[in-house]
Structures are given as structure tokens and as C-alpha cells.
Symmetry: C2
Subunit: 216 residues, 2 copies
Amino acid sequence: MQPPRPATEPPRRTSRLPRGARRLQLLRAAQDVFVAQGFHAAAMDDIADRAGVSKPVLYQHFPGKRELYLALLEEHVSELADRVGEAMGGTDDNRARVNGAVGAYFDFIDAEGEAFRLVFESDLRNDADVRSIVDRGTEVCVEAIAQVIAADTGADPERALLLASGLTGLAETSARWWLPRKGTVSRDEAVALMSALAWRGISGFPRVDDGDHLAH
Amino acid sequence: MQPPRPATEPPRRTSRLPRGARRLQLLRAAQDVFVAQGFHAAAMDDIADRAGVSKPVLYQHFPGKRELYLALLEEHVSELADRVGEAMGGTDDNRARVNGAVGAYFDFIDAEGEAFRLVFESDLRNDADVRSIVDRGTEVCVEAIAQVIAADTGADPERALLLASGLTGLAETSARWWLPRKGTVSRDEAVALMSALAWRGISGFPRVDDGDHLAH
DNA sequence: CGGTTCGGTGACCCGCCGGTAACATCGGCG
DNA sequence: CGCCGATGTTACCGGCGGGTCACCGAACCG
């Protein structure tokens, strides 16, 4: 799993690294620690130790703990938003869109490193910047889906957004439920099942020319 | 050393209270502070201040910050689980069950005091006890729903649980999306819309006698 | 009216951890 | 070689906040 380490992995501590490489290594180490312990329980010393380096090095690359965290958060929020965006834009078949979007959530949550916990289980949601980044990410996903719903059912924007938010919740929550139970249901089967649920639900709102009688 | 206190100290503080009443008041104060600031940002002094009392009083009623938090968490997790349980047990009509369960999530999230944030946005999820309480709560909700699904569609337990978890996610996420937008869509309309989505989805899995071909 | 009790307080302790200053090396270059 | 500027390290500071101690005063009771 680890990238090809230089065979010169001696008993020595990490040899000196150029700035760029060190920075990436620190980001990886920080992600591991933040995911495993959360923001508050993670100490800067833990992160430095995990990178085989001392604390001041961290501060040579990042101005503070919060900023380090924000960088990682931003990265993974964008990742999810991109995947969902691709699922919406990559086809004209709405059934495939649903399948793709549900798959995007499952793959994001099943990704190596459990980075999704930074996004969905952040223990820094009180921080205004964190809240703003996370909320903006879900907003992007919800809006991408709502746009398709509005276009293909004629639902007014408010209701399309509400429906879309429900679908993202369906995908996110079922993926998180499934993750520790991967052994019993395969990824493809789970995605197929949840896509079927979502599709049967949303395809029940057919195209109309005025969107006023959806909720009966 | 210090001349007598500037006697201009205005009127008395809070009147004395019997133990039980004080305890309840402290719980209310703690909930307000924990909801507004999260566990980590909340200081015991904040909670005591809000109750118009000094910190040691807090420790006469609760052994520590964590325990105080756990008491509140437990309370609200049970509340949600009870509401969902009632929605499942209160009727035989599956359409009504869906409507009731979705309504339960909306009401829980729309409740005075925003206590739902303790459950769904806890910044102490790393704590083993917190995780256990929250997970157990969602498990109870998911199982209650899954049982009905399994009984009425013949789906095997694993898949019924997965479907049920998706439905809870749909309700929870859409309710949280709706909350700050109450002004534009009424509670009843939102519940009706999301119930319709969920019902169309789940009622597409009809009763069968062997549960093996649901996910095609 | 003296004393016991119980609700309540100001002041303090101390461990943890984010952040920093001062010092140590490695390696390239003229 | 001897300098210099990056890369790293050890050791420290400071404050925030959970938790505690010694004490106070109102009421109640005999």
C-alpha cells in the first residue's frame, strides 16, 4: 500500500527531504492522525512523530493546527463534490445518474484511509471555517442533483433541493452503515440495492409542466 | 490586604434551590451551552455562569464534564428512538409508518433548543461511550424499520437493514437541510414530500416468498 | 440562642498542548 | 576548505480549563 519506499530505508530517522516532499508527507501523517483521533484529541506532537520529525518542522510548513486541518478538509470535500458532479454530468440517463451518484458516495466512504470521517464526523464543526467548507461541499452536491430533478420533473427549486438533500442522505448514511459490514454484502450489490431504492422513489415524480402537485 | 469588597455588589444572586430543582436547571444550562458551542469549546465555567452559579456546584451534581454530557446525550438519543419506535408500532399501514417516521425525524430536529445537534453533530464522537450511545440509538431506529421491511418484502435481514439505514438517512438529512429553510416550505409539506419519496422507493420492493432477487 | 447542615463561593492547583526561540547539521559552492 | 542557507532538533514558555480545597452564611432545630 505504501508508495515505493527508497530501498535506503535505514535505521536512521527520515533523511532530509525537499520542502515539497516533506509537505506531502506531513499532510499524509496529519490525515492519519486526525482521522484516527479527531481534531481535538490529536496533538501536533503526534503528527510530527508519525512523520518521524519534530514539531517545529510542522510549523515551517503550516501556520497552525487549524490551518493544517482545513487544508485536508478542503481537499476531501472537493473530492466528493467532484465525484458527484461527474456522476451527474457524465450521462443523460437518469437511472445511470442515480447509480453513479450512489456509487460515488460508497467509493468516497470506502476509500483508503477513511478520510470521509474528516468530512462527515468532524469534531470541529463549531469552527466557522470548517462549517463553511463542509456546508459548501454538501450544497454543491445537493444542487447538482437538484438541478437534474428540477429539469426533469418540473419541481420548483425549493422542493427539488429538498428531494436532492434526501437522496444524498440516503446514499451517505447507507454507505456508512454498510462500511463496517462489507463482509456480508458486496459493494456492487449494496450500490445496486440503494440505487434501486432511490430510483424507484425519485422516478415516481414524473415530468410535468407545472410543478405544484408533487406531494400527494 | 484588600479593603472589604466594594459593597456596591448589587443584589443577591440566584436564590437557593433544593437539589432536584438545581440539578434540572444545570442540565438545561448545560444543554444550551453544549448545543451552542459544542463539547470542547464549552467550559464548565460557562455552564455554571449560565445557571447563575459557581463551578463547584456543578461538581456537586455531576462527577465531571463528560458525565454531564453523556447524561444529556443519552436523553435525546432515547427520545428519537422512542419517536421512531412509536411511528413503527402505532399502525399497520405501511404508508402511515413511513409518514410517521419521517415526521418523527422532522419533529426531533425541529424541537426547541436544537438538541438534535448533540446527537447528529457531536464533537465528542471519538469518545467510546459517546460513539456507543449514538450508534446504539441509530441501530434501534434502523432495526425497527428493517423489521417491518423484512416482514413485508421478504428481504433478508442484511438487505433490510441496509434499506432501512438509507431511509433514516433520507429523513435525517432532508430534515436538517429543511430546518434553516423553514420559511420557504412548511413542515407538513416537507414531510409529505419526503414521505412520498421514501414510500415510492420502498414500496417498489414487493412482498416475495424468497428474498433473493431484490437487487437486479 | 448555639450548633449542625446544606447550598454556595472565591481562589487556587496543575497537566496538557499549541506555539516559539535558540542551537545543531547537512550539503553545495567558490 | 570555509562560508551560508536551507533543514531539523532540543528545550522551553504560557495559558486555558478541568477539577478541588477551605471557607461562608442562611435557615432550621432543639
